[in-house]
């Protein structure tokens, strides 16, 4: 596809379980971002990958959150031991030069 693809689109999980969210960026885009958006709120930065540089992890809220980007393409955001406050929409974006293009997000609900 031509755009950023995220899966799953919706995920309901039990408190304490681990979840993995996937992002397929636009082909050729070297930068990849993860953001979190709670209901009615703005976008909260989580982590940023730029080419082969070390990722900027400064936005990760706790050590339960981690992300990797394999082969400079697909990225996976992992949340361990999920808590109810992790419920949000997780958005991924990719960029080649300047403009960042977003996927439709994964809506995570922790029950």
């Amino acid at each position: 596809g031509a755009g950023v693809s995220q899966s799953p689109s919706n995920k309901v999980t039990e408190k304490g379980k681990d979840v993995e969210l996937r992002c397929d960026p636009i082909s050729g885009h070297t930068a990849l971002y993860w953001y979190r958006q709670s209901l009615g709120q703005g976008l909260e930065f989580l982590i940023y990958f730029q080419g082969n540089s070390a990722p900027d992890k400064s936005g990760l809220p706790s050590d339960r959150f981690s992300a990797e980007r394999t082969g400079g393409s697909v990225s996976t955001l992992t949340i361990q031991r999920t808590q109810q406050e992790d419920s949000a929409v997780y958005l991924c974006a990719s960029s080649r030069d300047n403009e960042a293009f977003f996927g439709q997000g994964t809506r995570l609900t922790v029950v």
Binding site: G42, F45, Q50, A93, E99, F102, Q104
Partner: protein
Amino acid sequence: EDQVTQSPEALRLQEGESSSLNCSYTVSGLRGLFWYRQDPGKGPEFLFTLYSAGEEKEKERLKATLTKKESFLHITAPKPEDSATYLCAVQRGRRALTFGSGTRLQVQP
């Protein structure tokens, strides 16, 4: 620390009633200022990038302008389909984008 403040939080307009949304920012070494539109349940949709003070960009009924401290998104003769949340973001160097909390625009027929 980079900061982005958007105002108003919410705006209700009548169809055809022009207005402006404000984005004030504090960032050292601005690389770009970005405007996005977000519809409910969707990811943000890219609208504009502005790079330097004095720059303007237009798309249909929207025009974005930039000064050294703020950006405006002018909406001329809006239509109901322009209803959405408009997000502003800044980028410092090759860092992640910092977003404001957005302006929820509602255009009534």
